[in-house]
């Protein structure tokens, strides 16, 4: 029987604020199959990033269920979620979020080390070579350009071989040419590993490279269409 890899069932998210509770997500339901590439589009404040956080188990929904590979994330505690993410989920952030005190190699090795991989550094080195940074492995984040930092972040995200790769505005902090390079790399890595790619973006051109476009407005899914990716 066919079973989707990611399932979101009637997900609500309400956050407290000084002015009172704010509804961020209002009954979002979505299912994603293995190997799919999904672009999450919507204006600022539509709830794109919040949906990514909930789906990645970084934030617990106020109500509803989130399942990845059949496991209900909403029933897990924070540490159980952290352990779950180790092998299953990779995340790329808009602001890279590399650890400034670690070299590029060490940054990529972190998830592998947490996973207990004995060959963490060898694999990290291979991933860095794959993103074209073989010559930069001993550089610290502050010694790398923005594009290079995002490539390290990409290598770090895919290194443990996750089933889902979440990317939150991965090109948002980069100039056009560098952003395009990183986007190419992102889709190339997806093509190689066949993971689910869950991409949050506000760039239509980038979104069109995905096979499915989900549009969000005021915390609701307003459109969900399967398209032919533009290559």
């Amino acid at each position: 029987m066919h079973s989707p890899l990611i399932v979101l069932e009637n997900v609500h998210l309400t956050l407290a604020s000084a002015a009172g509770p704010v509804n961020i997500l209002s009954g979002v339901s979505l299912s994603v199959d293995a190997g799919e590439t999904v672009a999450l589009l919507g204006p600022s404040g539509s709830g794109k990033s919040s949906l990514l956080m909930v789906a990645a188990g970084l934030e617990a929904p106020t109500s509803g269920r989130v399942l990845i590979s059949g496991q209900d994330l909403t029933r897990m505690g924070e540490d159980a979620l952290a352990r779950f993410r180790r092998g299953q989920i990779g995340i790329v952030f808009q602001s890279f979020h590399l650890i400034p005190t670690m070299t590029a190699l060490e940054n990529v090795a972190v998830p592998l080390e947490l996973l207990g991989a004995p060959d963490a550094f060898d694999r990290a080195k291979t991933e860095l070579e794959a993103v074209g940074l073989a010559a930069r492995i001993d550089h610290y984040p502050s010694q790398l350009s923005g594009g290079e930092q995002q490539r390290v972040a990409l290598a770090r995200a895919v290194a443990p071989g996750p089933k889902v790769l979440f990317a939150d505005e991965p090109t948002g902090n980069l100039d056009g040419a560098t952003g395009a390079e990183v986007a190419d790399l992102l889709f190339a890595l997806h093509a190689r590993s066949r993971t689910v790619l869950f991409l949050v973006t506000h760039e239509e051109e980038l979104a069109k490279r995905c096979g499915r476009l989900v549009r969000l407005k005021d915390g609701h899914v307003v459109a969900d269409e399967r398209v032919t990716p533009v290559t």
Binding site: A16, F84, R86, I99, V110
Partner: protein, 843 residues
């Protein structure tokens, strides 16, 4: 891979960026550990020195002391059978300079007569150089005497001159430059003079009932057991009433003083650690706040909260270990620095070396304190949500952290407390001191919170500068709490120490001279009382004249239990550790305050009844009807306690803890003690009249003693104030840290103000108002807390009237304000100097 090893690897990577953010943490820990290690090492150096030199200081392996009487022939035989014996006789006496054949200047002296075996250990140094035997020899009616240089100054005499002691003339053969057993002699009321036993016997001062101490020092073979000596002495001469000391505790009073001073200074060191701990806690919080995004990233990559806690705990503890090592090096160097700087001028023997025990203790204190203060913020960091990587949701700083972590932190703090208590010679004082510090920290924190609350609710001033200064004190992340707590605690301690010191000084300089007599006359013989009374009565201004019989004796048993085995609290040990003055009285002496029981009936001659000091009753476990056994002149006598009196030692008058009913004690040979108060103009004539007529009576000028005691208090006060400065220094470090933490906000503020048209002078004025205000408010708080603590110590512990010193008050408030202002403006300097465009480009 083991989580611990992995966490260690991550911690090591983090530490590659250096001590950034941990400088204050590091400095506070170095300071606290160095203080405790230094004090401990120096104390050990002195205690080891005293122990090493034990037999030299004591003058033998064993010292047997008797008061009023010499050892009997069997007792002497017992001593001689156990080693080489040296006999010393010591007493207080008057020395007269003989000039042109008549008595000129005179001075109370500590007279010591030695035999040919003296000294058994160590050596006497004399200037000019000569042998002891030849210096003290008697020939053609004159004997030799060695004197301290002070006596020559006071008598305006020179070596070769003549002094008279009692009825005997002595030629000053030279100056005593080193007396090996001096430290075991106790508090001296006058310069030391050494003569031969033959010389002493010629003075006519040795009479039955005179206050004379006979000491027998025994040099025993190396194989002889001190324990066996003691048990044999007690078994064979149970009623001897002698005080036996051995080389392991040659100067018990001095060792106790070193112990107690060490305790006080260690507690001050712990206070510095506590103050530093507040800074450490702030530093760790600020550090983790900067690492928030990194922690969230690690969590999003699969790191658990426990793992995050371990990574950062390891980092903090690695830095703590480094700081402890530096602190230990500084502390261990202190004895060597003292040796190099003061060496020979310190009168206590010391062995200057490294003392591992003291260093291990300081390291434990340092690491436990670091853990106690660092764990709570680390526990909060453990709770940082991974979603905070995207947006600033619930502030982690407001979360408390899980209870097991807080329990570990509390356990580390309790271990520090327990360690301090176990090692303290006076656990009650240690509990009170540390309790006050903990209470002070809590109160100051509450005050800081109250201050912020109040400032927030004050109406906004119209002057924009003052409005901004007030707003700066209450905004989130303001240094207010840090400054109030850290600087406040140090200033509180300094205020308390200074006010207590001032109160004692006032007591000694101001109150005591109002109530104390002008003279103490000791050793008035029964056949001299009538003539003595007559001389005193001639003084027109003489008041409060009091002449009391006095005999020295030891309390040897409490309710039949030997004193050595009786349960006596440490604060009352002094009462049973040596001989005490005992008096007797038929009628209730004037001014006596009986607080419990009844005075004996008039003309009572029955079994001995005792009126005892009520302050000693509780620590000695005594109540009405209990018995005390006293040894007087080698004879045991037991009496029943029938009343307790309030004995006030602070008035400087005659005070006896033991007053006995007549019937038995009055039959023993004894002398009289007299006190009198005369107008200053009549002091010298009365002094002359008594000393001219009675060369055997020792005359103590209270004015001189008060001067000596005052000097001692001054020196101790200076030392304690210096020690308190360590906590102030820790407070200033924390202050610097708290101000540095706000520098980013300062930079932004000053940039915006400049953009809006504020000049640098205007911005400085705003900061000056802000820091001056918080500093002065902290000073006022510290003044209140310090005064409260000093008042409790004065009234409850010292039982004296508390005196408030406005100078201290002023200095505390102004000092607090000035220090904060200085550090604050220093910290804000970079913000003032920054170019606005630069900050606006890189916010």
């Amino acid at each position: 891979m083991n989580a611990f090893v992995l966490a260690l690897r991550f911690a090591r990577r983090e530490l590659r960026s250096g001590l950034s953010g941990f400088r204050i943490f590091f400095a506070c820990l170095v300071l606290g550990v160095a203080a405790i290690a230094g004090v401990g090492s120096l104390s050990q150096a002195f205690l080891t020195g005293l122990s090493d030199q034990g037999r030299v200081i004591l003058g033998g392996d064993i010292s047997v002391g008797l008061v009023h009487r010499e050892a009997t022939a069997p007792e002497l035989a017992f001593l001689k059978a156990r080693g080489h014996v040296s006999e010393i006789t010591s007493m207080r006496a008057m020395a007269y300079a003989i000039k042109n054949g008549v008595e000129a200047e005179r001075q109370l002296i500590e007279l010591k007569a030695v035999d040919s075996a003296y000294p058994l250990y160590g050596s006497v140094s004399i200037a000019p150089k000569q042998s002891l035997a030849s210096a003290l020899a008697c020939a053609s009616g004159t004997c030799g005497a060695l004197v301290e240089q002070t006596l020559l100054y006071r008598l305006h005499a020179k070596a070769g001159g003549i002094i008279r002691i009692g009825t005997q003339n002595f030629r000053i053969a030279g100056v005593l430059t080193n007396e090996p057993d001096r430290l075991s002699g106790g508090f001296a009321l006058g310069p030391h003079v050494m003569v031969s036993r033959e010389g002493l016997s010629r003075t006519g001062l040795v009479t039955l009932g005179s206050l004379i101490n006979y000491t027998y020092r025994v040099a025993m073979p190396a194989s002889a057991s001190i324990v066996k000596f003691r048990s044999d002495a007690v078994a064979q001469f149970p009623d001897a009433g002698w005080e036996i000391n051995d080389r392991s505790k040659a100067a018990p009073g001095l060792s106790r003083f070193v112990d107690e001073l060490t305790m006080f200074l260690t507690l001050v060191g712990l206070t510095a650690l506590a103050v530093g701990g507040v800074g450490a806690s702030q530093a760790v919080s600020a550090f983790l706040d900067r690492k928030r995004s990194e922690i969230a990233t690690l969590k999003s990559l699969g790191a658990t909260g426990g793992f995050i806690f371990l990574v950062f705990l390891l980092q903090v503890m690695i830095i703590a270990v480094a700081a402890v090592v530096v602190g230990l090096i500084v502390g261990a160097a202190l004895p060597f620095a003292v040796a190099a700087s003061y060496g020979n001028s310190i009168p206590i023997p010391a062995r200057y070396t490294a003392y591992p025990d003291a260093l291990i203790l300081a390291a434990l204190f340092g690491l436990l304190s670091a853990a106690a203060f660092a764990i709570p913020p680390l526990a909060r960091a453990r709770e940082i949500a991974p979603a905070s990587i995207f947006r600033d949701i619930a502030s982690p700083a407001s979360a408390r952290g899980r209870w097991p972590y807080l329990a570990i932190s509390a356990f580390a703090a309790l271990l520090v407390l327990a360690l301090a208590l176990v090692l303290s010679p006076s656990p009650v004082f240690a509990v009170e001191f540390l309790g006050s510090v903990a209470g002070g920290l809590i109160v100051l924190r509450l005050c800081a919170a109250g201050l912020r609350w109040t400032l927030r609710r004050l109406p906004r001033p119209h002057r924009p500068g003052l409005r901004l200064a007030l707003a700066n004190l209450t905004r989130p992340g303001a240094a207010t709490t840090g400054v109030v707590v850290a600087l406040g605690l140090g200033l509180t301690l300094l205020t308390a120490v200074t006010l207590i010191d001032g109160t004692i000084s006032d007591q000694v300089q101001g109150d005591l001279p109002q109530t104390a007599p002008s003279f103490f006359f000791v050793d008035i013989q029964p056949n001299q009382t009538a003539a003595f009374d007559k001389i005193v009565s001639r003084a027109r201004t003489a008041t409060d004249y009091k002449r009391t019989p006095m005999i020295r004796g030891r309390i040897t048993a409490l309710n039949g239990v030997p004193s050595a085995k009786a349960k006596v609290a440490s604060e009352a040990k002094w009462a049973i550790s040596g001989d005490r003055g005992i008096t007797y009285a038929a009628a209730l002496p004037k001014g006596t305050d009986i607080v419990e029981g009844k005075w004996w009936p008039a003309n009572y001659q029955g079994p001995t009844q005792i009126s005892f000091d009520e302050d000693l009753a509780k620590p000695m476990g005594l109540k009405l009807g209990d018995s005390l056994t006293l040894n007087v002149l080698g004879r045991e006598m037991t009496g029943k306690i029938t009343s307790f009196r309030n004995v006030d030692f602070s008035n400087g008058q005659q005070n006896f803890i033991l007053i006995l009913s007549p019937g038995v004690i009055d039959k023993a040979p004894h002398s009289f003690l007299a006190t009198v108060r005369v107008a200053p103009a009549e002091e010298e004539p009365l002094y002359r009249a008594v000393t001219d007529r009675f060369p055997n009576i020792s005359t103590v000028r209270v004015k001189d003693v008060i001067g000596d005691v005052n000097n001692l208090i001054q020196q101790l006060g200076d030392g304690m104030r210096l020690a308190s400065l360590i906590t102030i220094l820790a407070g200033l470090l924390v202050l610097a840290g708290a101000i540095a933490a706000g520098n980013r906000a300062r930079l932004y503020d000053s940039t915006v103000l400049k953009v809006l048209g504020a000049t640098r002078a205007q911005i400085v004025a705003i900061y000056a108002m802000e820091y001056g205000l918080i500093g002065a408010l902290t000073g006022i708080l510290a003044l209140g807390a310090g005064t409260f603590a000093a008042r409790i110590v004065a009234v409850r512990v010292l039982q004296v009237d508390f005196s408030f010193d406005w100078g201290t008050a002023f200095l505390t408030v102004v000092g607090g304000g000035a220090a904060t202002l200085l550090f604050g403006l220093g910290g804000a300097w970079a913000a003032l100097a920054a170019k606005p465009a630069q900050t606006l480009r890189n916010p």
